[in-house]
């Protein structure tokens, strides 16, 4: 696996994670053998189109996968915060989702920012109350201190007049401010890892630029590690150090951001990069496309999940077996039969 010249050990390692959903109609292999390492103070991007399992991966890490979903196998190894009896490595898969330990990790060590800030805040509580609740759950502080902490967090994420905004409801804030408040809440208990699931997808470009700027700045200040989940390759190029590309629950390629964008190896990564309209391209030309569409999760193709749409498919090979993720260069892994036999 990614053997980069990182001196520090990985803060979070996901090993062969499988999260399946068992609705009445059959099994959906939403996450099917995902592995990656997250290094401290770096930003890891998980990209892919709808149904690739990127959000389920995030939810699996936080153990908030909803029924009928279940982690079937694999490991999620978290380097615990040292102090207060911590330290060492915890396998989150083995923890009970509702155990006190998991609840401490959720929010306390790993924060989450959702895509839609409107639906993730309660509409009947002020944003201040919601942040104060989080703070009181995780830190031993009184209501007054918690309120001060909430105001301080709102100020940190650049919300003007935080001492007034703290008593407002989510609907009173604009989209950008709401997303800032969401980030404030996720960071209120000082987590070391922030998982941001499509944090800017519902925002306008200029607001998006503000939020990305804020995340970068907070990372520098607080030494935070970020997992950024998005479908927007522009955002990935902008923010990430390493990139994991997913397709139908599998990691097809992962590596340093420059390698992924300038020397992509997997046919899916290549096709995806070619098919996005670039602001640098000439106008009104035909875009290269990926044939077909993403298969329905019930009709998952056999063999490599991408083979029916792959321009470089090897008949008799790609439809027969599933390729394993293997190292192509230092820290750059590909799962494709074009690069060596199974």
């Amino acid at each position: 696996m990614a053997t980069e010249s990182n001196t520090e050990p990985a803060i979070l390692s996901v090993r062969d994670l499988k999260t399946y959903f068992f609705p009445d109609e059959g099994t959906v292999r939403a996450v099917d053998g995902v592995s990656f390492d997250l290094y401290p103070k770096k930003t890891l991007g998980i990209v892919g189109e709808s149904g690739c399992g990127k959000s389920v991966t995030a939810r699996s890490i936080l153990r908030i996968v909803e029924r009928p979903g279940k982690i079937v196998s694999g490991q999620i190894l978290l380097q615990r915060k040292s102090g207060n009896g911590g330290g060492g490595v915890a396998d989150l898969v083995r923890l009970d989702p509702s155990s006190p330990e998991m609840r401490l990790i959720r929010g306390g060590e790993i924060g989450l920012v959702f895509q839609e800030p409107m639906t993730s805040f309660s509409p009947v509580h002020t944003i201040g109350n919601q942040i104060i609740e989080t703070v009181q759950l995780h830190m031993r502080v009184g209501p007054k201190e918690a309120r001060e902490r909430a105001i301080e967090m709102l100020r940190l994420v650049g919300i003007p007049k935080p001492e007034r905004r703290v008593d407002e409801y989510a609907f009173e804030l604009s989209g950008g401010l709401r997303q800032r408040a969401m980030i404030a809440m996720a960071l209120s208990c000082g987590p070391r890892i922030l998982i941001a699931d499509e944090p800017t997808t519902a925002l306008d470009v200029t607001t998006q630029a503000q939020i990305l700027d804020l995340m970068r700045q907070l990372q520098e200040q607080e030494g935070m590690t970020i997992i950024l989940i998005t479908h927007n390759l522009g955002v990935v190029a902008e923010m990430c150090d390493t990139v994991v590309v997913m397709y139908l629950g599998r990691v097809v390629e992962q590596g340093p951001v420059d390698a992924i964008f300038h020397a992509p190896k997997h046919p899916y990564t290549r096709a995806l990069l070619r098919s996005i309209p670039s602001i640098h391209a000439t106008t009104r030309t035909t875009l290269p496309t990926i044939a077909g569409s993403i298969p329905h999760p019930y009709n998952r193709p056999t063999g490599c999940p991408f083979h029916p749409r792959c321009p470089e498919v090897l008949r008799g090979v790609c439809d027969a077996g599933e390729p394993e993720l293997q190292s192509f260069a230092a820290g750059h892994d590909v799962s494709c039969f074009l690069y060596g036999k199974p």
């Binding site: 189109e49 391209a281 106008t283």
Partner: protein, 338 residues
């Protein structure tokens, strides 16, 4: 290019929504959603309306289709017979024949198709509503339309749930084309689609335009997509048009500071382009309570005293390049270098 017919001309379009309060529902103010917008669309071209949420791009397009009635201004449309009609003031009875020539493609392919009707019902509906042909003709026409948008005619008895997002958007396009319209208003037609599918739909729209001589009014917020499909682009900010010119020129040499900031905010899928951007301070102005002078001045890094007091007018600073900025003549703004 010069002699091309202007299929649509919008002059001084305004749409204000009243703000009502209290039990008497007294009007206490107005949201100036579209505030004096002027532009034109030539026959056979694609004009994109871009801007951020709340800038009035969708309201403008809905006024053009007369889904809502404009507060003031003219919307001059040239039907095929060569006459000129003002859509903004036309009595309701005379709208119907006109509506055949203006059709719409919607953003969300999941909510814009009735799940309880088959493809045949959906695509044939405009034909049925306008009493065109008998059932046989309608069936043939639907088959032809489905082929045109790249779907198999055998699918026409199926329901929308059997199709993916991209295929549903094709169904929406087939429905829009059923009556041979001349103008198609596409409101964010690809923003709900996955990247790999987005390219297919954009290619289809370009191919159909060439084949059928369609004119597109394309409403979008994604500037990479806009650059890809448009001949000309009009940029809106808080209900006003700030800049309009042909695509190449707008992206290479923007003349309005808002356009410059907007272009620079687009994340480029190339790590080498990192952090070369202008991050705008503050928030988009409130159209119910807009700032004085130029609406953009509180966030503009080039603002001078005049910007605070005087509202700039849209002016043609070069043939075909319209800008509403007091300093358009003196500023050298950064565009996107290809």
């Amino acid at each position: 290019m010069e002699s091309r017919v202007r299929l649509l001309e919008v002059k001084g379009l305004k749409k204000f929504f009243p703000i009502r309060r209290g039990i008497l529902q007294r009007e206490v103010g107005q949201v100036r959603a579209v505030d004096d917008v002027t532009f034109y669309v030539e026959k056979g071209e694609t004009l994109s309306l871009v801007g951020e949420s709340g800038c009035g791009k969708t309201t403008t397009s809905r006024c053009i289709l007369r889904a809502i009635k404009a507060t003031a201004g003219q919307i001059l449309f040239r039907p095929e017979d060569g006459s000129v009609v003002d859509v903004a003031t036309l009595p309701k009875a005379q709208l119907r024949p006109l509506r055949r020539q203006m059709q719409m493609i919607f953003q969300d392919p999941f909510s814009s198709l009735n799940p309880r009707r088959t493809l045949l019902d959906i695509v044939a509906e405009p034909l049925v509503a306008n009493r065109i042909g008998n059932r046989r003709d309608q069936l043939d026409r639907v088959a032809e339309l489905l082929r045109l948008v790249g779907l198999r005619p055998e699918y026409m008895r199926r329901y929308p749930h059997a199709f993916s997002g991209g295929q549903r958007q094709r169904i929406g396009i087939a429905r829009a084309l059923a009556l041979n319209p001349s103008l198609i208003v596409a409101d964010e037609p690809v923003s709900a689609l996955d990247v790999s599918v987005q390219a297919q739909i954009l290619n289809l729209m370009l191919a159909l335009q060439e084949r059928l001589g369609l004119t597109y009014l394309f409403v979008a917020h994604d500037l990479s997509v806009v650059k890809h499909v448009s001949d000309r682009v009009a940029v809106m900010y808080v209900g006003r048009l700030v800049e309009m010119t042909d695509t190449q020129r707008l992206f290479a040499t923007p003349r309005h500071p808002y356009t410059e900031a907007l272009l620079s905010a687009v994340p480029v899928p190339d790590p080498r382009w990192r952090s070369k951007r202008i991050v705008l301070e503050g928030e988009v102005a409130d159209p119910a309570n807009p700032p004085s002078g130029c609406y953009f001045h509180p966030r503009c890094r080039y603002a001078v005293e005049a910007c605070r007091t005087e509202t700039p007018q849209l002016a043609e600073i070069q043939p075909g390049h319209y800008v509403s900025c007091h300093r358009a003549g003196e500023l050298h703004l950064k565009g996107i270098v290809a």
